[in-house]
């Protein structure tokens, strides 16, 4: 089966700055492919190149059977795109936006009316379809943008940070829609910086400073990049004592996580719960909680990013979504 997207050595420079550097991967048909990375890591630039919005500086990609370098317009008929910033007309209602974009994709008459009814139903917009989108709350607005992206039944949908700034309940509902679309055979290429959302993806590409630092299924990524045991530790002012934890034998990583910290210890190292408790007690902050946890994609991301940082000597700004 030919992949839905095949990316070959894709590079994009803006002046002296290289936003995307020599990225290669492919996405299977009907797959949910997650693209993870900090702000400015090159996620949006990649998506824009795959949608035919930006010309690659080097390399190429085949999207829905067409090369982005040579036939960007042919690609546009077959993909849907939801940009990071809400970019539908705020002075028009959802229905009016859908009528315009449907028309732009050549849909008219009865077929357009039928498709609008379908996507309005799917994304649960019936009650607000005539309210100017500028007056809608963020979560609903994102659903309008999604409805718009899938209106013309594209083979591939590109969703750039579709849930940024959306409340958790809406986010969950949104991901139900995404899974629903993938089950129906649509290929979904989605970027996010919510690690919990990334778990929903079949495969994940991790972008660090313009390069694809890792690519695999979530489970395989955790096995490879977060081996050993991960401990969740909570103690007063723990952030000031991470250095003490890092000095323990076999500790690969000690980073802030939620209200406490995650400490990852290499396989077979002599550091366990007792050693962690002792180290913190010695530092004057006896821990309130020490327990082993399954590594999350955030652990993976931090491991990959710090390894990359050491390798490349560059720092990617990690911005908390909150």
């Amino acid at each position: 089966m030919t992949p839905a997207i095949r990316v070959e050595h894709l590079t994009r420079r803006f002046g002296a700055f290289t936003a995307v550097r020599d990225v290669s991967f492919h996405v299977e048909k009907g797959e949910i492919f997650g693209y993870l990375g900090a702000n400015g890591a090159g996620k949006s630039t990649t998506i824009r190149m795959l949608c035919g919005l930006l010309a690659p500086s080097e390399g190429d990609a085949v999207v829905a059977g067409h090369r982005v370098s040579r036939e960007p317009e042919a690609i546009k008929w077959r993909i849907g795109y939801m940009s990071q910033k809400f970019s539908l007309y705020r002075d028009l209602g959802a229905r009016e936006n859908l009528e315009f974009y449907g028309g732009a994709y050549g849909l008219g008459g009865r077929r357009l009316r039928r498709r609008i009814a379908e996507v309005v139903e799917l994304t649960d917009l019936a009650e607000v379809r005539d309210v100017p989108t500028g007056e809608l709350p963020g979560g609903i607005r994102q659903r309008v943008a999604l409805a718009n992206a899938i209106l013309h039944e594209p083979e591939i949908v590109f969703l750039d940070e579709p849930t940024a700034g959306v409340d958790p309940v809406s986010r969950r509902a949104f991901w139900r829609l995404i899974r629903h679309m993938a089950e129906a055979g649509t290929t979904v290429f989605v970027t996010t910086h919510y690690m919990d959302e990334a778990e929903y993806c079949a495969r994940i590409g991790l972008m660090v400073a313009g390069r694809l630092a890792a690519l695999d299924t979530p489970a395989a990524l955790k096995r490879r990049h977060a081996p050993g045991t991960t401990w969740h530790v909570e103690a007063p002012a723990i952030l000031r004592h991470l250095a003490a934890l890092r000095r323990l034998p076999g500790v690969v990583e000690a980073t802030a996580f939620g209200r406490g910290a995650h400490v990852r210890v290499a396989e077979g190292a002599p550091t366990g719960e007792a050693e962690l408790r002792a180290a913190l007690a010695a530092a004057g902050v006896p821990p309130t909680l020490v327990e082993p946890v399954a590594p999350t994609l955030e652990d993976v991301f931090l491991a990959v990013a710090s390894a990359d940082e050491q390798a490349a000597g560059t720092a990617a700004a990690w911005e908390d979504p909150a």
């Binding site: 824009r48 919005l53 317009e73 546009k76 315009f100 028309g103």
Partner: protein, 382 residues
């Protein structure tokens, strides 16, 4: 083809919806032009009359008073001050309280009676050349006529004394004025003002349209659709063609009513010419918007086009009195063609046959500039 029409219709409907919803924009497009037309129509009045005049009558005789009355009779010059001497008259000219001074020196009547040359002095403030020209001409015309009367009177007295008729022939040139017999400058200027108002409403608004979409980010979503630049441009222009036609219709109606503008030619032909003209002004707007990153740049670009287009159009200054190289430039100016068409159709009832060149040029320019805008419009970001 069907697909193109579907796309075009979608753009037109969307633009129309957005425009209709934007109250301020509607006001700018439909109401403001009428106000501007009426105000500018009154302001841009080239008729010169009531020129403030200081009168210095040092002769103080019934004859001198009679001549001053005659000079002021037609209203071109209006006595606003009286002075005793030339020095005081000069001061009033310097102070700007008068633009003309008429000095009748002492001995004027005596010299006339003796049959000697009787000098009269007319001083003009030349800072407004057009005005002083007309004021000077009015004064010369009156005193030439008066001089002729003096000669005629003397001849009559001579005839009576000699007992036979002595006469002399003069050249009698009487211009007859066609199309605008009262030389009402409003009738000439108002079509020009209508053109001016139309270009403001169409070029700047379209220029800012795409730039605004680029600025607020909605353009990105449009660029990812397979819509072609030509369809997008045409769709963005069409609603404003309707706006322009409405504007011209109201402008003509209001002008006919307020300024007695005659409408002598074919309105249908005028409609077609207006359509072609709108293609050029809207096309220029679209072109500007494809080269502008921000609304501010687009606005400046619009002004950058409009100013020379107006100045080189023959609306305010006759093209025939421009230097040769500038006259050549006016052939590139769509506004020039449209104002020629408008004036000729309204005042002279000219038809398509008389204005084939102008109409053809507008059509060609319109197609060219919209085509250029479509070519220039990139569907890629930078």
């Amino acid at each position: 083809m069907r697909r193109l029409l579907v796309q075009l219709r979608a753009v037109v409907v969307k633009e129309a919806r957005q425009t209709v919803r934007d109250r301020r924009m509607l006001f700018m497009l439909l109401v403001a032009p009428v106000f501007q037309l009426v105000m500018l129509g009154y302001a841009v009045n080239l008729d010169v009359d009531h020129v403030p005049t200081v009168v210095v009558d040092q002769d103080r005789t019934p004859t001198s008073r009679e001549h001053l009355r005659g000079l002021l009779a037609d209203g071109t010059l209006e006595e606003t001050a009286r002075a005793d001497g030339v020095a005081e008259a000069n001061r009033l000219l310097d102070a700007g309280e008068a633009s003309v001074a008429v000095v009748i020196p002492r001995g004027f009547t005596r010299d006339l009676a003796r049959g000697e040359p009787a000098p009269v002095q007319v001083l003009l403030d030349g800072s407004d050349p057009n005005r002083s020209n007309i004021a000077g001409a009015a004064a010369s015309q009156y005193f030439q006529g008066a001089a002729l009367d003096v000669v005629r009177g003397r001849l009559e007295r001579l005839s009576a004394a000699m007992g036979r008729r002595v006469s002399f022939g003069t050249i009698d040139a009487r211009p007859r004025i066609f199309y605008n017999p009262r030389l009402d400058s409003a009738i000439f200027m108002v079509p020009g003002v209508a053109v001016l108002v139309l270009i403001l409403a169409t070029t700047v608004v379209t220029a800012m349209g795409i730039a605004r979409e680029r600025e607020v980010g909605t353009l990105e979503q449009v660029l990812v659709t397979p819509i072609s630049p030509g369809v997008l441009m045409a769709g963005k222009a069409l609603p404003f063609v309707a706006v322009g036609l409405i504007d011209v219709t109201t402008a003509l109606t209001v002008s006919a009513w307020v300024f007695d503008l005659p409408i002598r030619g074919s309105l249908a032909f005028l409609g077609v010419a207006t359509l072609f003209y709108l293609m050029t002004t809207l096309g220029v707007g679209l072109f500007i918007s494809t080269v502008s990153e921000t609304q501010q740049q687009a606005f400046m670009g619009g002004v950058f086009f409009i100013l020379p287009a107006i100045l080189l159009s023959g609306i305010f200054t006759p093209i025939s009195s421009m230097p040769a190289w500038m006259r050549a430039l006016t052939w590139l100016n769509p506004v020039r063609y449209y104002i020629e068409i408008l004036r000729a159709v309204l005042l002279k009832a000219a038809g398509p046959a008389d204005l084939a060149l102008q109409t053809g040029a507008l059509f060609a320019y319109g197609l060219a500039i919209i085509g250029l805008a479509s070519l220039r419009f990139r569907k890629r970001l930078r």
